[in-house]
Symmetry: C2
Subunit: 138 residues, 2 copies
DNA sequence: TGTCCATTTGCAACATTGTTGCATAAAAAG
DNA sequence: CTTTTTATGCAACAATGTTGCAAATGGACA
């Protein structure tokens, strides 16, 4: 997706198309996987963008708020951000590499293919987490 | 499980049965759910135990290392610890309350019962995470 | 194109969670 | 009781994320 198209996207939604937001969403879209705050920071640096740490945190929150990205918690106590916020509530499976932490959404896979991972991925473990309300909170 | 039995357990395994370890495992066993570092600290305080923050971190790590507990990452960037480390690799489903964060293992449930949660729990979402190695790490 | 105002940004300070180094205390073996 | 090994407490540090506030700026409108 071109930067110009991203700016157009913001304008259609009546959201301020600031450089920080356009560049950040651009990075997420180009990555094709979930990126940590730090990884986004690095990717922005590669493009010659200098962005304050706090601004980036707020920008990522903004994108999630506007459903342009979604956020998932990593095993390493950091948030990861992925574009494609469209698929509702990110209630889809994810893949995380046990060695390097690389995380990507598996939302485009049919259920049958979750068992058979995409080429090149090695299955080690499936973790199923049920979320909801406990007896004390109902 | 009695404190004395816990001490016995350590001795059988040739592990040093220090007050910190016995009390901490006691707290985890009594909880019946996964506790954060902070929650363990509070529970110990209730029992009149004073334990250094760092010592507790190391004690919890020790219990995980010895397979007397297992550790899971929460949505709030904190580790949770649960006794019953016996079930291998904690490759079992968990339940987390979306409101208060209460987390417990569902390891004692048959697969059919995962869909139908125990009485009092409200289902909201199932998240499946596949873990393994990505193409770059194989 | 210039003006204005709500919003965004950068900076400093702070909070939380967890880790490391090292001297001292204590467990368990003999 | 003495010795040896290991665990503990303390201080300092690191990583990740948040909050308050003044200054900059995006976009609407004249
Ligand atoms: Mn996702
Ligand atoms: Mn568990
Ligand atoms: Zn990897
Ligand atoms: Zn609850």
């Amino acid at each position: 997706m071109l930067q110009m198209d991203i700016m157009q996207l913001f304008k259609e939604r009546r959201l301020r198309a600031t450089p920080a937001r356009v560049s950040t969403l651009d990075v997420l879209l180009a990555a094709g996987r979930a990126l940590s705050h730090h990884e986004v920071e690095d990717a922005l640096a590669d493009k010659g963008e200098r962005l304050d740490r706090v601004t980036l945190y707020r920008t990522l929150d903004f994108l999630v708020e506007e459903s342009l990205a979604h956020r998932l918690s990593g095993e390493d106590r950091t948030w990861r951000f992925s574009a494609q916020g469209s698929h509702t509530g990110h209630a889809h499976p994810h893949f995380r590499c046990e060695r390097c932490g690389m995380t990507r959404c598996l939302s485009d896979l049919k259920p049958a293919m979750v068992v058979g991972l995409p080429e090149g991925y090695v299955f080690q473990q499936a973790e199923l987490t049920i979320r909801g309300l406990c007896p004390g909170c109902t």
